[in-house]
């Protein structure tokens, strides 16, 4: 029998729900509290919980530190890329501004472009925040062996 059986089973059930809740917070950020930053932290917490229960090696196998490093830069690229994209999507003919989301959708009366733009930049924030939180956690936790029961 492995130790902490209840902790393992409960967290196995909870971790997918935590990740789904993170995405809910991201996609619902236009309508309620939350957004990319909070969603990114929640998804990072799901991975950290996995690392605390199942050990650092398992967590590194699930989310490799290399992916975390690329993810941190990718999020910034998504954000800036959205801004550059709006500069080139000048449907009306006149040149548009950096991060002017109205260019992303032709429906100007309902401002659908704003919804797309906000979701896109928040996706960039989510990617960077999740990766950075995990990078910091890996950097700290990689220096000590796994937490033992005697440590408390």
């Amino acid at each position: 029998m492995s130790p902490h059986l209840i902790l393992r089973i409960v967290s196995k059930l909870l971790i997918p729900l935590i990740v789904v809740f993170g995405f809910y917070v991201h996609f619902h950020g236009d309508f309620g509290p939350g957004g990319g930053f909070q969603a990114g932290v929640i998804i990072a917490v799901a991975v950290i919980l996995y690392a605390l229960i199942f050990g650092m090696d398992e967590a590194r196998r699930a989310v490799p530190p290399v992916a975390v490093r690329y993810g941190a830069a990718l999020g910034v690229l998504i954000y800036v890329g959205t801004g550059v994209l709006t500069m080139f999507m000048n449907g009306a003919g006149e040149p548009l501004n950096f991060l002017d989301y109205d260019a992303l959708h032709p429906d100007q009366s309902h401002h659908s472009g704003q919804h797309y733009g906000i979701l896109l930049v928040e996706l960039g924030v989510l990617t960077t925040v999740t990766s950075v939180m995990l990078a910091i956690f890996y950097a700290f936790a990689g220096r000590v062996p796994d937490i033992k029961d005697e440590d408390w």
């Binding site: 930053f37 932290v41 989301y101 990078a135 700290f140 990689g142």
Partner: protein, 189 residues
């Protein structure tokens, strides 16, 4: 009056924050201190909800009570489990600093607007402008998101870069956390 009831809830939450703060100062066991800072963040998040700042409360609960507690635990594992008792002289120096800072804060209280004041700086000027414009210009129900991601898109981009640079700094100082010791990497070279 419902507003009176929430007022007492605020008092209760602030009293609990004070109690947790004193407990953090008094305790020597660092594990308990780290856990209590998480409790402190959770209590302040509850207080922010009571003040109708749900977005701030959400961030405080996720970052303060969630990530920070875990990172502080990770940092604590690198040091001792108990803090050393400080000398009496340092007690008085610390008390003098705290008393001076507290006196300055009390001195500043009369300059602050009354809670819920409709003419306070936060409730006039640009803040109300965002409230008026968002339904027509952005068409997003959550004004906080509209300000954060659209009106202040440049600022949020800067913040994303700041978060990225924070990770860069930690990785340069502590390594990538790949689980390999430095000696192993030297062997490979």
């Amino acid at each position: 009056m419902p507003s009176d009831l929430t007022q007492y809830l605020d008092y209760a939450l602030i009293a609990m924050l004070l109690a947790v703060g004193f407990a953090i100062v008094r305790l020597r066991n660092l594990f308990a201190v780290v856990m209590l800072t998480g409790v402190y963040s959770l209590l302040s998040a509850a207080w922010f909800v009571s003040l109708d700042a749900v977005d701030v409360a959400f961030t405080e609960a996720a970052v303060g009570a969630g990530i920070s507690t875990v990172l502080m635990l990770g940092a604590m594992l690198l040091t001792a489990r108990e803090s050393e008792p400080a000398g009496k002289k340092r007690h008085w120096a610390a008390f003098a600093v705290v008393a001076a800072a507290g006196a300055a804060l009390f001195f500043a209280i009369p300059d602050m607007p009354v809670y819920g004041d409709p003419d306070s700086p936060a409730n006039s000027y640009v803040g109300m402008d965002y409230m008026d414009r968002t339904p027509n210009e952005i068409a997003v129900p959550n004004v906080v998101t509209a300000v954060l991601a659209s009106y202040r898109g440049y600022d949020t981009m800067g913040e994303t870069v700041v978060v990225f640079s924070a990770a860069l700094g930690v990785m340069l100082l502590l390594g990538f956390g790949t689980g390999r010791r430095e000696e192993d990497e030297e062997d490979e070279l």
